[in-house]
Symmetry: C2
Subunit: 336 residues, 2 copies
């Protein structure tokens, strides 16, 4: 962990001094206990990682802003756990195992230390769950909204990376888990959406606040999946990325998509597939690999469902049970 010289151009030296002093204390108290091997208790200039022979590393980074990507009254542990999980979901989509992460945090000057303590607790829970450790980072003070950034590192055998560009015409399209739970959870939290059984409502909220990166399934897919992405923007939008990168068309059967039991609250399957935040894996595979895929999914204790087919052409289309093309809300087609 490190920081910048507090003799900065804008803040009063005395103020910067005080916040800076606090920085070292906060790191020692809350973040040093999360440091993994090679991170030297966050007390050096950088962390050291030695990959095993024949291994490669993968890197991804995301930033989130209070008031934009999370609410300032969201539980701090959930914010931390989600920040780590969404990055590890990208690691999973590459077919890699999680290894470690670096986090930078810009705390508002009036932020209570209890928030930071709970944030660190969320990181601790999530890193234990996903088998990664803190390797470094930085904390600074800001006069604006909280701003958080996380870089996740994964590892895998050399050559095992799952790309977005490998889908071939004739491949089947699969999705893990089910789609729309997080979308329902967001609508409950943000818009006061009503309906559904209490237990299912809570499950949907949990899926929104604590997404589960599919690291086990991801590690099982190299050699089986021809292309892979995680569902963050929404199933249709992310399928669009696979279509664009692979130079092929993606057609899915609406009725085959496994959706949240509460999907009807937000408009059914057609709404669930454009809702996003699912952090499931969306991938393609040759029909000949169907049985091996099923075995891999079973071994990682993850449900996977075939939902469509890669076809010649471009873009994404959705058909209903009668083979009729379904028109989707415009939101589903953003980015492609």
């Amino acid at each position: 962990m490190s920081g910048q010289n507090p003799d900065n151009p804008a803040a009063q030296p005395a103020l910067a001094e005080a916040s800076r002093s606090g920085e070292f204390d906060l790191i020692a108290r809350y973040f040093a206990p999360l440091a993994g091997p090679g991170a030297f208790g966050l007390g050096d200039d950088a962390a050291v990682v030695t990959p095993g022979a024949g291994r490669q590393l993968v890197f991804t980074a995301d930033a989130i802003i209070a008031g934009v990507h999370f609410l300032t009254d969201d539980p701090a542990d959930d914010v931390a756990a989600k920040l780590l999980a969404v990055n590890l979901s990208d690691v999973a989509a590459m077919g890699a195992a999680g290894l470690g992460y670096l986090v930078t945090a810009a705390w508002p000057r009036d932020l209570e230390e209890a928030w930071i303590a709970r944030f660190a607790q969320g990181l601790a829970e999530a890193q234990a769950e996903h088998g990664v450790a803190l390797l470094g980072g930085d904390t600074v003070a800001t006069n604006g909204p909280m701003s958080l950034s996380l870089t996740a590192i994964g590892e895998q055998p050399i050559g095992a990376a799952l790309r977005r560009n490998g889908a071939r015409v004739g491949d089947d399209i699969y999705v893990s888990g089910r789609i729309g739970d997080a979308g329902v959870g967001l609508r409950i939290l943000r818009d006061g959406l009503t309906g559904g059984a209490p237990a299912e409502r809570q499950m949907a909220i949990d899926r929104y606040r604590r997404p589960r990166p599919q690291l086990g399934l991801g590690r099982a897919l190299p050699g089986l999946a021809s292309a892979c992405i995680d569902v963050s923007d929404g199933l249709i939008a992310d399928l669009g990325h696979l279509a664009e990168q692979s130079g092929a068309a993606m057609r899915i059967d609406l009725e085959k998509v496994p959706v949240s039991p509460l999907a009807d609250l937000i408009g059914g399957t057609a709404a669930a597939i454009v809702a996003g935040d699912d952090y499931e894996l969306l991938f393609t595979a040759a029909p000949a690999d169907e049985q091996r895929l099923g075995e891999a999914a079973a071994q990682s204790e993850t449900d996977i469902t075939p939902i469509g087919r890669v076809e010649p052409g471009q873009g994404v289309s959705v058909v209903d049970g009668d083979g009729e093309v379904v028109a989707l809300k415009e939101a589903g087609y953003r980015h492609f």
Copy 2:
């Protein structure tokens, strides 16, 4: 590069949609050209890096905030180049070569695209100068001040990492380059400090805005230096980190410290050594290695100067030409 689902809790969907669309365009236009091997043009979930046999990687991250760590009217290319340079300075302090980096940026919603273009230009210049490439990142919109975070990755032979904790009693203390230029530059920019020749004033400003990570010298130090750190907080403060981590006292001779030709404008050597932002390397080495150190410095075309000695005890002390202990401003003693 990736982003979060724009169906977020706080922003209006229409607004988020618009900013999100822009994100993909901005990445393609300004950042994809900076992508290195394994980054897939920033078009996949993560970047892939395969370290050579017998190599280890080092990781470090820093965040900076507009109005705190840089001024909103600082040139965007300088902001970008400095953000990369200060992280690579940590890589240099580990004795590693630069390899790549990930950057996350939270842009204010009203930020002009010209600023982003110039920011990318600064990254392009700096990455070419330092021999690294962009591996990934994220761009998001914020209602607050600009917030930037960068994770730098370095590589080196297994076991070559320079730590802060290896200084031994009797070692000499060295510093590269000279101290105080950036501190003078900051005072000129922030406080309207006057005096000095125009060329020297401009040099001081350049050193503040475009620090030069000592990657060449850093790579030459493993096997020679017993402990190393880069000077970011100020020579005295960073020497304090070496003292604390190594469990020894650091005594420096004030008159031996190579300082800015404009140091007298801010209070002389005693002020320069607590000014910070120098991004020189501060390291210790056994007296027996003096000649090899000189050769290594010459090969990397970097001046190094012995400025003191590691002694039994703890903390940092400064003596003048008569061997009398010099009292320093309190700022020099923060953090230890």
